[in-house]
Amino acid sequence: MSEGLKIGFYRPGPIVPAQSVAGRTLMLLIGIMTFLSCVTFGGVLLVQKSAVGWSADVGRELTIQIRPVDGEVLESNIRLAISLAEAIPGVAEARALSLEESEALLEPWLGAGLDLSDLSIPRLVIVRLSDPNAADITRLESEIAGIAGAGLETHAAWRVQLNTMAGTIVVSGILVLSLILVATALAIVFATRGTMSTNREIVDVLHFIGASNRFIAGEFQGRFLMIGLKGGAAGGLAAIVFFIAVGMAINAVMPEPSSAQLGFFFGRFALGLNGLLGIAGVVMVIAGLTAITSRLTVRRFLLQIS
């Protein structure tokens, strides 16, 4: 016996040998599952963040549309709409789109060099709200209705559609995450059963020398927890690298305006602190799932053979 052993640095060898557990394959599988879970989680988080931001932006703006009506002076109706809107509490400002701005809006459909004076098209007043909750939209709507040819557009239908789409993506993401976790659990069950069969001799010997099922399950659980932690950490790290790489690629490949536009519509392709914490959470959940699933499988196996 070496001196090192005698002075207390000695640790007994593991009862379940590391090489007897299908460790590398299982670790790779858990790594892949964790990566998929984290990418799904990150994607859902980005969509949700963008949808919330977008919905909030859209909710802060109303549009008054004023159509030209025979016998009415369009410019005076515009001024009336602006003054009515500005009198409503919660409205920060109201301003009419200039003819140039209106032309710019129609340019994609009607082409450049448009002269609006030739066309009988409605004019728009943009109403920006300082506090969407405090603004009395119903009152504004009824007052605007008093102006001939005027109507108020609250974008409510847009927001409902946007929220529905974002909600569908979030629910789909949760469903995908759940399926990945179930698939992971099933893979762990099969791997654990295989390991138990491979180590049946060790299990029998432990039983014969008086080991409790709890002790035996603990020995196997320890092995699987390590595999789960290592595989999960690798998968989580790969996901973080993926998000950083995709974010950098978008910035590098796309011209600045397009990148900014993409950022406006879909949010910045960056996870932020919440995303990183979420990925750490996914890793912990997968490691815990590995440990718990293997423990339950081992205990069930032990009960069956007892």
């Binding site: 207390g8 593991p14 001799e201 008086g210 409790s212 002790f215």
Partner: protein, 219 residues
Amino acid sequence: MIAFENVGLRYGHGPEILKDLSFSIDPGSFHFLTGPSGSGKTSLLRLLLLSLKPTRGRVTMFGEDVIKLDRDRLLQMRRHIGIVFQEFRLLDHLTTFENVALPLRVRGQSETSYRANVEELLDWVGLGDRMDAYPSLLSGGEKQRAAIARAVIAKPDILLADEPTGNVDPELSERLLHLFEELNRMGTTIILATHELALLDKFGYPRMLLNEGELVIHE
């Protein structure tokens, strides 16, 4: 210490392997269990090890009816019983020391609390200089002595041995039997299954003869 009353055992819906076994074993006794292959020796040892329950009859150990014991109590009782196998059944990835210490380790004892005892026992069975060796490097005799040391390290009241001399030469068989005698003199009840007539004749302990599931005891 051990009492069997009209005990029968069958696996599933198969034929009865053990039939109407009735006997008692006193504390501190030494019995040979013998009989032809397939006579049910291993099944009887498994009943004695509490890894099987009888399909009929009553088995009393340490004053308790084993049929009525729950899992935890069975585990507690099993810890009073040591077992030695013909094939040694040492764990190949553990050293001799670690194999022998295993029963104490599974009971939650720390390595520092049992190291001296394990070393002393390994010295006693003649493996003091083989503590760090892995089973693959031990001879058959050394493996069996390590297995015996593992079976007795937790000081069991009963030591069961299933053909412990089956894989060693006759000279070593006798030396192993002397080891069992020594343990018996220290108070351990021993039931040793063997079909080696030479050993049965040389060591004149009572014989439990099993034949086609029926038991006859020759005192």
